[in-house]
């Protein structure tokens, strides 16, 4: 995966089945956000070799809106302010396009506690936690087949993290698979019981994939670079 002439991420092979939660962790600059953007087809990120396969179809070159229609959704790490677009009306438009049941929408609204944000312009004059929760709401709202969540926990308080963890649980129960990107371990701990695998990205390469108990204690004890030197032999 490249940004211009520069290769950002290489040698990644992750398979996600239905209703699974996979966590992708790594230090700042390890390529986590770039990887999600490349999967979604967001410019200027580009997959230069390999494939993005979705339900047996090669969607590598598809533009983001077609991927979204297939059921791939992304929660952006820093969603842009869109003045003039009212959050509630935007949510209604997504509900209309994707034909979502109202009860599911209400469940997410209550879980994430974002109902009071619906009369505001998208992400305008919102705190970090409000922006993250609203973006997660708009992402999970469409009941995607797979949700790519890019650091929903960065810069937010513990209360917001707990609300978002509950929302991920709701999404998993409704049939959504989730790929959660983070560089903190707190939210991972909140979701521990639902995690299928934890993947560690370091320097643009996958250095480790394993169960929660195999990976998280190692990272906690030695940090990312310490874990890498201990692994010496490459991805496990």
């Amino acid at each position: 995966m490249a940004l211009g002439d520069r290769t950002i991420v290489s040698n990644i092979n992750i398979g996600v089945d239905s209703r699974e939660l996979h966590v992708l962790i790594g230090p700042n600059g390890s390529g986590k956000t770039s990887l999600l953007n490349a999967i979604m087809g967001i410019k200027p990120y580009e997959v230069v070799s390999g494939q993005v396969l979705f339900m047996d179809s090669d969607v590598t070159r598809e533009p983001p809106y077609l991927k979204a229609k297939r059921g791939i959704a992304i929660a952006h790490q820093l969603p842009p302010v869109l003045k003039g677009i009212v959050a509630g009306k935007f949510a209604d438009e997504l509900v209309r396009r994707y034909g979502v049941m109202r009860i599911y929408v209400d469940t997410l609204l209550e879980t994430l506690e974002v109902r009071y944000l619906l009369d505001r312009y998208l992400f305008d004059k919102m705190s970090g936690g409000e922006r993250k929760r609203l973006e997660m709401f708009l992402t999970l709202l469409v009941r995607p087949k797979v949700a790519l969540l890019d650091e929903p926990d960065s810069g937010v308080d513990i209360d917001s993290m707990e609300k978002m963890s509950r929302a991920i649980h709701v999404a998993l129960n409704s049939g959504t698979s989730v790929v959660l990107v983070t560089h903190s371990l707190h939210m991972i701990k909140l979701l521990r019981d639902y995690i299928k695998l934890v993947h560690v990205l370091y320097g643009g390469t996958l250095i480790l994939s394993g169960l929660y108990d195999e990976v998280v204690p190692l990272i906690e004890k030695h940090g990312f670079s310490g874990a890498l030197s201990r692994l010496a032999g490459g991805p496990h």
């Binding site: 809106y65 959704a73 869109l82």
Partner: protein, 402 residues
């Protein structure tokens, strides 16, 4: 008024906008005409008030002919006075106290031409003290003739504690008419009164448009305007002035969408002449094609305490499009708090990417961004009027991406 001075002003250009040779237009003639209803329907379609035109519009003037006057019945039942300006000046002595008082005929060649040759064509409305007419009044001023000069003089007086919500659509059929529109409007809002004035313009290439508007708002009164222009023109220049007395408020909203090779010189100014008065100017400017938009705004703080704010935003969507934003704040008292913000940019790739990742095609995403950019919420306008404005903005956004 010294007629010789006004005659001299016929050669006086406006300080703003391109100068126009008035001899291009048939000024002062008064030939009888028949009104082509299909042309009228085409214009109302473009103004977002399509269908049942004669039932919906309360006052319709085509060229010089007044076609529909339901406005009179609607307003008179509330005790208001509604007359053609010429008739009002002839029948009611006191009306002259409001005529050519806020706008001097000698300001420039357009006001001079209106004064000398306009024969006081236009409408006069007086709303007596305490009468609140909440139902919006729709007026339309159309041009269907070529090389024609439509010279109008409208006077609106909303007396103490009264309220009026006026909507004016001005336009031509969707084809070049090479005509001139000068609308001189003098609005007076009495103490504690309120006037909302929404104006939507749908002109065509080769049209020259020079509205001249001035408003006086007395103590505790309020004036809200919402102006939308989205059609091509040869040139359009306007710079309304609003004078606010003690505790008076004004909000001037404008949405200018430039297309073709048109030149739009659109300003708004508020003069804070009373203590605790406040004014706000909000403008959204979208320049497409090779259009040029001059977005002027000025707030003068003459007395304090008073407040004023200008927000002027521009979006350039074309390699030859130009926006020049000229916000000015001027104060002669330390107690006036005046602020402004101005920004010009292009449609953000980040915003496009975001919406596309939510399932919008690029075209849908662009339309949504443009619609959001142009939308200025104005809760002080009646709901029905805001719906017309929103429909117009939606129409603009859907065409802006084509």
């Amino acid at each position: 008024m010294n007629r010789d001075e006004v005659l001299k002003a016929l050669s006086k250009p406006s300080p703003y906008g391109p100068d126009v040779d008035l001899s291009r237009f048939d000024i002062g003639s008064s030939t009888p005409e028949s009104v082509d209803e299909r042309s009228v329907e085409r214009i109302t379609d473009r103004l977002g008030i399509s269908g049942q035109v004669f039932r919906r519009v309360d006052y319709l003037q085509v060229n010089e002919s007044v076609v529909a006057k339901a406005m009179s019945e609607k307003l008179v039942k509330h005790g208001a006075v509604v007359l053609p300006t010429r008739e009002a000046l002839r029948k009611l002595n006191w009306v002259s106290a409001y005529s050519w008082k806020l706008i001097e005929p000698t300001i420039d060649k357009y006001t001079a031409a209106s004064y000398l040759y306009g024969r006081e064509s236009g409408f006069f409305i007086y709303v007596p003290p305490g009468i609140k007419i909440m139902e919006p009044i729709y007026t339309c001023l159309f041009i269907t003739k070529k090389n024609y000069a439509q010279l109008l003089h409208n006077i609106v007086v909303v007396d103490e504690g009264a309220e009026l919500n006026l909507v004016t659509g001005c336009g031509v059929p969707d084809q070049p008419t090479k005509s001139l529109h000068v609308g001189v409007s003098e609005f007076y809002v009495g103490r504690g009164g309120k006037l909302t004035y929404t104006m939507i313009h749908a002109w065509a290439p080769e049209m020259v448009v020079r509205p001249r508007t001035a408003v006086e708002v007395l103590g505790g009164g309020e004036y809200v305007s919402y102006y939308v222009i989205y059609s091509p023109v040869e040139s359009l220049q306007t710079y309304p002035r609003v004078y606010l007395r003690d505790r008076a408020k004004a909000t001037l909203n404008s949405v200018v969408v430039g297309t073709g090779n048109s030149i739009y010189d659109v300003g708004s100014s508020v003069i804070l002449k009373g203590g605790e008065s406040s004014g706000e100017i909000l403008s959204r400017n979208l320049s497409k094609g090779s259009s040029v938009i001059y977005a002027r705004s000025r707030i003068e703080g003459a007395i304090g305490p008073s407040r004023g704010h200008i927000e002027c935003l521009g979006l350039i969507d074309g390699p030859s499009a130009v926006i020049e934003s000229l916000p000015e704040i001027s104060s002669s008292t330390p107690e006036a708090v005046l602020t402004h913000e101005a920004a010009i940019g292009k449609i953000s790739e980040e915003q496009l990417s975001y919406l596309m990742s939510k399932g919008f095609t690029e075209e849908e995403a662009r339309a949504a961004i443009i619609k959001g950019f142009l939308s200025i919420e104005e809760p002080r306008l009646p709901h029905q009027v805001m719906e017309i404005v929103k429909r117009t903005i939606e129409y603009i956004a859907s065409r802006a991406t084509g």
